[in-house]
């Protein structure tokens, strides 16, 4: 225990004062410095800069562990005592939540709850939006009560994950090597690009990209791409196996770096890609476009959940952290890399007008756009691929998902790779 001295009292008051200016519920922050929260998740948002800033702003220590999404799922499901905060994707939540390893979060303790975008609350970006297929975040975002292990479809006041980061994914192309407009997912299997196409070798995401292509080719329309039947899986993978045997693909990629190298070296001119990979190619001075397509985007979202074992001061600290997360600094930090924040309006305070205009509103950049690490992302006059937040997130066709037939799909996927 920290000894109660005048000096410590003053420090404590200072921290308390600081937390009130953040607009977050204040806790008596004397011992909070001793708190260490262990967070794990995929690399996307597990950034050391965030941990440093937490130490500065909130005073406690955040330990980050980055793992791939398979390991994240396993750890959240099997080792509930190995973490305090899980930073996971919504489709992983669908698998993990029923195990009871995470605890529901009381939305009345979340200061900015009302400002969280509709996608994570009632599923609608605007009142007119239709809800996309797959594991849409709001379908697994709420539970019935403090001890719930089910999902409910209305805003029950108990959240499973607090949304933190999300984006809309599409195909990346090399416009200089293709030389004509690309506007459909079906172009991935266009024989014109034989030997120059690629798809990612991560089954749960790859199958969704495949489904977008199959639908775009007019071969089949899925009742729900996010939950295929065995026949639909056979059909989808069959079409791609045939294309593979005809030499459509140059390679498959599994890691971020591989996708960047394939594109930058010109081995591949069209492939599934993630937004920061596009940036990495562009930063080498090579033209690369995150091509918006008519059929829409494949989207994903992540959030943070609390371990069921977390209570007392640690839990208070975790709520403090969540409130701080939604308060804008992290949002700005993520949005300046091309992701979206769950509470965009607070992030705006941490971005300048040019950045906000470019990243969120889809306006022309008035000056060089740099990411938080100082790399130039766009020059004056450029517009973000896909346009504004509403245009991009409004055109989501499906969310990353986990299917009932997941194991069957995985086996078929292995056959596809071996074919």
């Amino acid at each position: 225990m920290t000894k109660l001295t005048r000096r410590n009292m003053l420090k404590g008051t200072a921290v308390a004062a600081a937390s009130t200016t953040l607009g977050a519920p204040m806790i008596w922050a004397q011992n909070i410095k001793d708190v260490t929260l262990r967070q794990f998740g995929t690399g996307v948002s597990n950034l050391n800069e965030v941990a440093q800033k937490v130490k500065e702003d909130l005073g406690f220590t955040l330990e980050m562990t980055a793992l791939d999404s398979d390991s994240v799922t396993q750890r959240a499901a099997t080792q509930p005592n190995s973490f305090d905060i899980a930073d996971i994707e919504y489709w992983i939540c669908k698998k993990v939540w029923p195990t009871g390893n995470l605890q529901a979060m009381d939305t009345s303790k979340i200061a900015n709850y009302d400002k969280i975008v509709g996608i994570f609350r009632d599923g609608k970006l605007t009142p007119e939006s239709t809800i996309a297929q797959g594991t849409a975040p709001h379908t697994v975002g709420f539970t019935s009560g403090a001890d719930g292990t089910d999902f409910v479809q209305e805003e029950s006041g108990w959240m499973t994950l607090i949304p933190t980061i999300y984006n809309a994914d599409t195909l990346g192309i090399r416009p200089d090597l293709i030389g004509r407009p690309i506007s459909n997912w079906s172009e991935l299997l266009n024989p014109e690009f034989a030997g120059k196409a690629s798809i990612l070798d991560i089954s749960s995401i790859g199958i969704m990209d495949m489904a977008m292509v199959v639908e775009s080719m007019g071969e089949y329309t899925y009742p729900d791409k996010g939950n295929m039947t065995q026949e639909e899986i056979d059909l989808t993978i069959g079409i791609f196996t045939e294309a593979k045997q005809n030499g459509q693909f140059r390679a498959f990629w599994k890691s971020f770096d591989e996708s960047v190298n394939l594109m930058a070296s010109g081995e591949v001119v069209i492939q599934s890609m993630w937004s920061p990979a596009i940036t990495a190619v562009k930063s080498r001075g090579i033209p690369c476009v995150y091509q918006p397509l008519e059929e829409g985007y494949r989207s994903w979202g992540g959030g943070i959940g609390l371990s069921a074992a977390l209570d007392g001061l640690e839990r208070d600290a975790a709520y403090e952290y969540i409130n701080w997360y939604l308060d804008g600094w992290v949002g700005g930090f993520l949005m300046r890399q091309g992701y979206y924040s769950a509470v965009p309006e607070t992030s705006k305070n941490y971005m300048d007008e040019n950045e906000w205009g470019y990243w969120f509103e889809g306006k022309e950049a008035t000056d060089v756009i740099t990411n938080p690490f100082g790399d130039a992302m766009a020059q004056a006059g450029e517009v973000r691929d896909g346009g504004s937040f509403e245009e991009r997130m409004g055109a989501v066709a499906c969310w990353n998902a986990v299917m009932d037939e997941n194991q069957y799909m995985v086996r078929k996927w292995n056959e596809f790779i071996a074919a």
Binding site: A77, K244, A251, F252, S265, G266, N414, A418
Partner: protein
């Protein structure tokens, strides 16, 4: 009384393999492993045509790599052992062969990728010499690339044991053969090759086991487009299907053991050493 060697073998070899064997009969769902006794993993493995295709592919890589590493390894060892006269030069040249091994396995493999690529050095050289007028696509992300990388990575494992046995060959045997009227080819085939067999066999075991157990070279050099048994196992592990991975590993282990047992029928390594 267990001797220290036995204890080490028990703890680091028998115990882990035993664990893998036990787990191979278990079952798994997406996030739990269920201790059970079921042949389901093996049934799936032997019932799937993919397994056979992948095993055949693994053998193909092993055999082709073996042929090339043997040809190159034998030639290099022969040159070092019989054509280089002084021991100083033998040692110097031998060390030269090992220099690439000062870098990591992965780096040596990955450095082929930009070299063989569509716009890589190999293709631009071929085109500027007028050998081809368009880039050769099969140089990279193909079986050719996989085998090239294997040969590059593992030739030394073949060459060193062969060189080692060649150095022990009594030079007077060669003189005797020459005195008896044998020509160069006859000496090579009737004297040197038979006496080098143990080295060839040790090299063969190294190369076969390394290639059959590999997964990362196949993944990178084929651009994830081909599969061998190692990749099946690594895919299963990534998807948390440990029992299924364990069953595949056991089948692979048995296959490799059978191959080695067969090889050892040809040469009694212990006697020859």
């Amino acid at each position: 009384m267990v001797s220290p060697l036995m204890a080490i073998l028990l703890f680091f070899l028998v115990l882990p393999v035993g664990m893998i064997l036990i787990v191979s009969f278990w079952q798994a769902t997406e996030f739990s492993i269920i201790p059970a006794f079921s042949f389901e993993n093996y049934e799936f493995l032997f019932g799937s045509s993919v397994t056979f295709r992948v095993f055949m592919n693994t053998f193909k890589y092993a055999v082709v790599t073996w042929v090339f590493t043997l040809l190159i390894g034998f030639t290099v060892a022969y040159f070092l052992a019989f054509h280089v006269r002084t021991q100083r030069w033998q040692i110097a040249l031998f060390l030269l062969c090992t220099i690439p091994f000062w870098t990591s396995n992965i780096i040596r493999m990955i450095s082929w990728i930009p070299f063989l690529g569509r716009n890589g050095i190999a293709n631009s050289a071929l085109m500027s010499w007028g050998v081809t007028d368009r880039p050769l696509e099969w140089l990279l992300f193909s079986d050719f690339a996989v085998i090239l990388a294997f040969v590059h990575l593992y030739t030394l494992f073949m060459g060193v044991p062969i060189f080692n046995t060649m150095m022990r060959i009594d030079k007077s045997l060669i003189e005797a053969a020459r005195d008896a009227g044998a020509n160069g080819a006859q000496i090579l085939w009737n004297v040197i090759v038979p006496l080098t067999k143990p080295g060839i066999m040790i090299g063969t075991i190294f190369v076969i086991t390394l290639v059959m157990g590999d997964f990362i070279t196949v993944r990178f050099m084929s651009g994830s487009q081909s599969a061998n048994v190692g990749r099946l196992i690594s895919n299963d592990i990534a998807l948390l299907a440990y029992p299924s991975a364990a069953a595949t590993a056991i089948v692979l282990l048995c296959t490799v053991l059978i191959v080695i047992a067969t090889l050892l029928r040809f040469v009694d390594i212990r006697k020859e050493l």
